[in-house]
Symmetry: C2
Subunit: 180 residues, 2 copies
DNA sequence: GTCTATAAGTCGATAGAC
DNA sequence: GTCTATCGACTTATAGAC
């Protein structure tokens, strides 16, 4: 896990951080290089184009997403509650990659849109294993996505209206889980 | 309502359309001028900076949002269902302004983030008049925002997974509205 | 009011020294 | 591997003709 040259990881980390904290427009190759502590030419040795840099962020998302599905599938509270609960907690490795790729997707980057669709499908499949009512499962998915919509607002890292009411929100999820 | 010079409206309309259809990055002043049928210099006579152009889009959002609150408050189905239902219907004047300002906000534009917070607060207040349970109202808001999260994906204009299941989704909203 | 021309700066990417 | 230097394209904004 720590074999590849250190510089590559530092660059991806800097790129993802800039996407999360300052948006896609600010995440230029020059700014990324400066934050990673290398020169622009040094960055381009490891990532020959901006497209390859974006692909690096997508790879990180898919890798951490697979790990997350393991945790979600074996969570004592069940996949649905696990999903909604972790939708509000920003700061983990998966969240950082997710938000970074979300920013790329919202900027029109097609491979990022595709990656997010795959991630979303993985979540929905697990939730539907627990919540048999298809439309209740979809409503729960939308609540989680609504929370991501909020955290995707620049400057509002985990300061959303709903973060502090998480326990009450999970009760609403319980009501959706238990059919009429 | 139709007093101000026609060119200004054409320019705002072109700017909003480009934000919606091709994203923030493509909505340059040059491209906006071309789409509005004026030259770059002609555009800058009406909007002296890109910031003022963005403010024009925000003004359009706040104006149409006030009109929407009237409809939402007097909707026979109630504000909550009206809100979720109209979250999936893209194409109206408000939706265009909302999506345009959302793109600006996601690009890090602070005045747009502030405007969206105000719009969101207006919606939540109306929903809470109907749905007394505060947390049920918040869950309904999140479902609507989850739908907006999907429509905010470039290239997926109203082709989301949930658009065709709207009737079933509204039944889930009904369950949240009627307390336990 | 609307245009052309251009200034001034930034972006991604290349070339070549060390 | 990492750097400096620089190119060509693009973006916002200004100046001034009509």
């Amino acid at each position: 896990m720590s074999r590849p040259p250190l510089a590559k990881e530092k660059i991806i980390d800097a790129y993802v951080s800039m996407l999360c904290e300052e948006g896609e427009r600010a995440a230029t190759m020059e700014a990324t290089a400066a934050r990673a502590g290398v020169s622009k030419g040094g960055l381009l040795y490891h990532f020959a184009s901006k497209e390859l840099l974006a692909q690096g962020a997508i790879d990180g998302l898919l890798r951490t997403h697979e790990e997350d599905l393991q945790h979600m599938g074996s969570a004592p509270e069940g996949p649905a509650s696990y999903f909604v609960r972790t939708s509000t907690v920003i700061g983990g490795e998966l969240d950082r990659y997710f938000l970074a790729v979300l920013r790329l997707a919202q900027g029109g980057h097609e491979p990022s849109v595709k990656a997010l669709e795959d991630v979303q499908e993985g979540w929905l499949n697990l939730i539907q294993l627990e919540v048999k009512d298809k439309y209740a499962a979809e409503a729960i998915m939308l609540i989680g996505e609504g929370l991501y919509y909020q955290t995707s607002m620049p400057g509002s890292w985990s300061t959303g209206t709903f973060g502090k009411d998480l326990d009450h929100l999970l009760k609403q999820v319980e009501r959706l889980k238990n059919g009429n």
